[in-house]
Amino acid sequence: MSSIKIRAKRIDDKTQIRMLITHPMETGRNKDPKTNQLIPAHHIQELTLSHNGKVIVNCQMGASISKDPYFAFMLKGGEPGDKIKIEWLDNLANKDSEEHVLK
């Protein structure tokens, strides 16, 4: 199952794109309560959002974004059938992507 959930909602002549990504977003400073060892850093570094193949948001982020990050953006326009693609890349080189077609 993909780690990304995308919801799009049309508000007047704009489209609100919301996304929820399942990711631990470990800062590298938290300790595991059982072993008392530091949990290594594991967080998303880069997020890109594209609209019909054209990159519209490029985001670099650190571990100060909460666990299971949520983002929302407002797209001017957006027609039914338009494709929204979201990709992320984390510091351990894991990546995932998900595509959503506007209704």
Partner: protein, 156 residues
């Protein structure tokens, strides 16, 4: 005969130099990006991060950036923030948490097809100011908001 030989050499040259040039072009931005990541998402005081991000450019306070964030956050691990702006030509939006070990939370590069509107959720280690800096065609503008945190988000 000479004609085909010449065109063969030409083709051979273009085909051999093209991947070289494109691979160089590919590698350069990647290493620049890695360096950028390392410098800006480094632990340290806010001033250092600002210096790395914006060099010595002047940052003007602006009333045209609206930050919607709870003034008292019960749980610092999840602090919802919504940034919107009426400034024209917004290119990037950076969200910083002044007292977090890594002050820069995220930096968004927005294309003109998007409204300057972003929602996200932050982690906050302690009570601190949240600073939003937008880069527009005419310079840098910032807005800030103090958030009180009753339970920290980083470290137990």
């Amino acid at each position: 005969m000479t004609e085909t030989r010449r065109s063969f050499i030409k083709k051979a040259l273009t085909f051999s130099t093209y991947p070289l040039a494109s691979s160089l072009g590919w590698l350069a931005p990647f290493s620049v990006f890695a360096k950028w990541q390392a410098e800006n998402f480094k632990q340290g005081p806010l001033e250092d991060t600002l210096k790395h991000l914006f060099k010595d450019q002047k940052i003007t306070d602006s009333k045209d950036i609206a930050i919607k964030i709870p003034t008292i956050a019960e749980n610092g691990a999840v602090v919802p923030i919504t940034v919107s702006s009426t400034l024209p030509d917004v290119r990037t939006v950076s969200i910083l948490v002044a007292k977090n070990p890594v002050p820069l939370a995220a930096r968004f590069e927005l294309s003109p097809e998007l409204d300057p509107f972003i929602s996200a959720r932050l982690k906050m280690a302690e009570t601190s100011e949240v600073i939003v800096i937008t880069e527009t065609g005419s310079g840098l503008y910032s807005a800030r908001q103090l958030v009180k945190v009753t339970i920290g988000g980083c470290g137990g």
